[in-house]
Symmetry: C2
Subunit: 206 residues, 2 copies
């Protein structure tokens, strides 16, 4: 069964997942949509609507089974794959992502780093060695990388994307402000940090 | 006239704005929703629906006036305010944001940096001096900061938010993975970099 799920719903699922995992670790068995909503500043109606997209999880008047719902949301998001990431370009942003601990809380791990700058090649960030981009094929195969993260300048991003695709990654998370071309079998997500800032600007202008 | 606009629509407006600004710089006068859609991988129907939320911009069969539409979207997003940012916590992520050039393309500028670590206080990033957090009140007033950006560890984020609010910022952009309390007159946007990654995971799992 495949359904089209709105991007806004998909965006909320990691929030649900993280809250449920925390609740599970605190040995809570059941949570109501009211309680989940209070923790996340989302209306209970919205939560029930989001979760109903995927099937019948909760019991009316009782609530959701914390463990079961967490597992189901994790599976919907594909987190059970424990995706392995390689970051290409360990400047400020790449370095920040290599150190960003929220990823591991969702099952992602950074397993390889690349740069073309000889001053950083051979150094390590968070215990992970920075490799030369020319070694990409071998390193990505050996480290079983699933996702390539592009944090190089816009002018270099398409070349890096081509290298990542040739090396066999299944997905690309692009931070460079440019539209990339990748084959249809490779998933692509374009990140833009100024979108959050624009949303804040909008809110401040109301 | 105030209308409730969906978050998804607000998220697309900066993309429209940036594309229109680029087109204006290339001296294009008119753009159709088809052409804008092709550039952004968004359906023309979606674009027409988004823009119709704000009023009547385009002319049927002709298209949108590039300059006029860009100005209107900028005004809706509040970009004409040219918001001034202060980043608190210049570790990896704070340093990356201080160097992130996409902000300036939307009219935002980073005007102040803060840290509590004496090893970085007094240094400069991108020509901006890193101040001691204890000087926050004076520096924020002098630099006319509108938005505080929190890139400190979760355990310190609420204290920093309180300091920023006391110093008079109108908005907070929070990267710490924690729910902050701020007075209702202060706008708050919680950023979570793993949401984009989760969306990619979802896409790769289909």
């Amino acid at each position: 069964m495949k359904k089209t799920i709105s991007q806004a719903t998909i965006d909320r699922l990691p929030l649900y997942f993280r809250t449920l995992r925390l609740m599970e670790s605190e040995e809570n068995k059941i949570i109501s949509s009211d309680e989940l909503g209070r923790k996340l500043d989302i209306t209970p109606e919205q939560i029930r609507k989001d979760l109903a997209t995927f099937g019948q999880f909760g019991k009316k008047g009782i609530g959701y089974d914390v463990h079961e719902l967490k597992e189901q949301i994790g599976n919907i998001l594909g987190l059970q794959n424990h995706w392995r990431l390689a970051i290409v370009g360990v400047g400020h942003l790449g370095g920040a992502l290599a150190n960003y601990t929220n990823f591991s809380s969702l099952g992602f791990s950074v397993v390889a780093l690349f740069d073309k700058n000889s001053s950083v090649i051979g150094s390590a960030i968070n215990g992970i060695k920075v490799n030369n981009v020319i070694e990409m094929n071998a390193v990505i195969a050996e480290a079983a990388v699933d996702i390539g993260v592009i944090t190089v300048p816009a002018g270099e991003a398409q070349d890096v994307a081509d290298l990542l695709v040739a090396a066999g990654v299944k997905g690309i998370w692009n931070f460079a402000p440019i539209k990339l071309s990748v084959p249809p079998e490779v998933s692509l997500f374009n990140e833009d940090l100024s979108i959050g800032l624009s949303a804040l600007s909008y809110q401040m202008s109301q």
